[in-house]
Symmetry: C2
Subunit: 412 residues, 2 copies
């Protein structure tokens, strides 16, 4: 492998991204929802691009698409991301990492000899969970944490089961656990993604190394008071569940200030939920995240204590129902340092951020494969909308960072 000669082509990547968008987006945005015809069309485009390269392509039992460029040794560096999108999504979320991975394969294939290690590009199936509500499906299968019986009975909004929909794309749900093993012998896992947040933009920088993914505590918190007429019930005789939920929303913010990380109430529902009634029931959806398990536990405990105190003061009952929980997953220290050196070289500043959103990389890292991600700046922090955007020079820089990091690991 003749390292100095290796250069990826940003213009080609950007052209590929634009072509993918023209094939799979409507005026409302990207429509590459997993297990749909448009998603299959996106993968057909992927195969078309890969057709020019000396690679083999295979689907595993979970529908993950693996492309292999043989190296001197069978152990592989894995580059991954996902081509699927949310409905009405953006032109970069997921597919940037896949198409940048293809560009890295092109670069490596153009070298004078095979790379020292095998290189595999994985396009994870159904990262977004947009159709069946289960995100990171493909990487869960590949890391041995998928329950096929659970998946089989998931239904989309139209009542179609995952069993039926996946079968239409060549996946037998009962055999999905056989995808386990795709990462065997991996020497590392790299993923380039847009930040999907405003931190890099606020700091005026294009690139960051991702230090790991946040742990999350996600709960529905229901307060039960007494529904009452808004006109005839004096203030001192009320047991207003909506006021309790409102106070919890403010407490969750305060706890993020005290413990770090982030804390959000994204929705409060009330019953009867009309302008002329004191709410007898109110449910707040609480999401707390932190990259430190102890701090996350403290923030969650703080929210439970705050809700208890609020419930006592407002004379309402409180009940917590779990929605989702995950521990913080740190990425590989050595890879973080290697990536940080490249980022510093490219932009003059070493930036390391935890990722609030989950990514397939989290399950890969949690399964023991040395993992790191690179973030490229998102304009206005927007994602999961057609307004999602990143300037072309930033995309080019992200590609260069990914390519250099791949070469560094392969040369390691």
């Amino acid at each position: 492998m003749s390292v100095p000669a290796l250069r990826p082509d940003p213009a080609r990547l950007i052209s590929d991204l634009r072509r993918l968008a023209s094939l799979t987006a409507t005026d409302a945005g990207a429509q590459r929802v997993a297990w749909t015809d448009t998603w299959a069309a996106a993968r057909e485009f992927e195969r078309e691009l890969l057709g020019e390269l000396p690679v083999t392509i295979e689907l595993d039992a979970a529908g993950n698409m693996w492309t292999t460029l043989a190296g001197e040794r069978p152990e592989a560096l894995v580059i991954g991301s996902h081509i699927d999108s949310v409905p009405d999504g953006g032109w970069l979320d997921g597919c940037l990492g896949v198409l940048a991975g293809i560009e890295v394969l092109r670069m490596l294939a153009a070298a004078s000899g095979p790379p020292p290690f095998t290189v595999r590009l994985v396009d994870w199936a159904d990262e977004e969970g947009a159709r069946f509500g289960l995100s990171l499906m493909g990487s869960m299968a590949a890391t041995g944490r998928l329950d096929p019986a659970f998946v089989a009975e998931l239904r989309d909004a139209g009542g179609v089961t995952a069993r039926e929909a996946l079968a239409g794309h060549g996946v037998d749900v009962t055999r999905m656990p056989e995808a386990r093993g795709g990462l065997d012998g991996a020497i590392g896992y790299l993923e380039l993604h847009i930040e999907q947040g405003p931190v890099l933009e606020s700091r005026g920088l294009p690139l960051a190394v991702v230090s790991g993914t946040y742990g999350a505590e996600r709960w529905a918190v229901r307060f039960t008071g007494q529904a009452a007429h808004a006109g005839s019930t004096p203030m001192d005789l009320r047991r207003d569940a909506l006021l309790a939920a409102s106070r919890l929303a403010l407490a969750v913010r305060e706890l993020a200030g005290a413990h770090g990380g982030v804390g959000t109430v994204g929705r409060i529902t009330a019953e009867p939920g009309i302008v002329t009634a004191v709410a007898g029931l109110a449910t707040a959806l609480v999401d707390q995240r932190h990259n430190d398990a102890g701090a996350l536990a403290a923030a969650h405990a703080g929210a439970v204590a705050a809700a208890d105190a609020i419930a006592a003061e407002e004379r309402v009952e409180v009940e917590w129902s779990p929605l989702f929980q995950i521990h913080p997953i740190p990425f590989d220290a050595g890879l973080i340092d290697a990536a940080a050196a490249i980022v510093e070289e490219l932009q003059g500043v070493d930036v390391r951020l935890p990722s609030g959103p989950l990514h397939d990389a989290a399950w890969v890292a949690d399964s023991g494969v040395p993992t790191v991600m690179l973030f490229v700046r998102s304009k206005r922090g927007l994602s999961h909308t057609r307004e999602e955007d990143t300037d072309e020079p930033d995309l080019a820089l992200g590609l260069r960072a990914l390519a250099r990091l791949a070469v560094t690991v392969l040369s390691g």
Copy 2:
């Protein structure tokens, strides 16, 4: 009229109430929604009860049902309420006043001669507004404040227009304003109603005189921030509309404490309204009520100022859209005193309360007819639900108070 001999029969009233419930309620509660077959059946039951009396019955142009017991003079004391209910409603809201009015007519008709003044019982059409969203429809028509063009185009949840539905009950919407005049020459208007609130129960008393109805300021307050990913957006870069709405809910309560009256946020909606997103839009439905116009204006101005301050601190925009406004309507001072004397005689304590809920009596009073209402205790303050209830001794006391008040006015 031989006053000492006049006594209403509480057992007969309670029997009538139970029979009405058996005819028009399901397991889910009362179903006497105006402009439905069940409402018509309730009125058929009314006619059956009235058939034994020397009265005339007529429907006015707005569907209000007037029953007249001729007196020595044509000027009339009017007793009123409404037989219609909300869906899944209670066994007392509205119909207590109508059936108690029938019992008063029975009592007066049993006297040795005609009463000194004519007595008219009015069953207002569509007090609840449950089907078309416009409450107090019949009394609005009778007091000259109804716009028939507006009413005609109202649609129910099934898309049926009020024009069609009312025609099915003999009402030509274009002619509804002709109901004006039903109150001409009225010497007074009396209405007995359940409290629909918890004040009397909290004070351990069965009866109150209603001093008037609260004025109301009812608004939708929309905060516009920036929708963002709950995981990737640091706390200090957020513009969280739901937190702004939550703070306004708390401010509305504080303002009721400062200015008196009541203040409620019964609903907060958020967009995107999911657990993993900071809300970019949030709308709070605000309802403020007071029996003093100046205090109501101050409380409303306080809410506007609080929303502006919150919006500035949270870096969001705020916009107020009116839903409903009405000024406080005081009842007649002389009738309040007369009713209070009777209430004090019956329960030993003179209690006067403003009414938070609106009633047809408010429009009657506002049109210049001397008006007063009597409230009878509601158990747990509940109404608009099948759990609505009042103990029979309290119902009996309410009937006695109404009957004595009618006799007092007629003898005046």
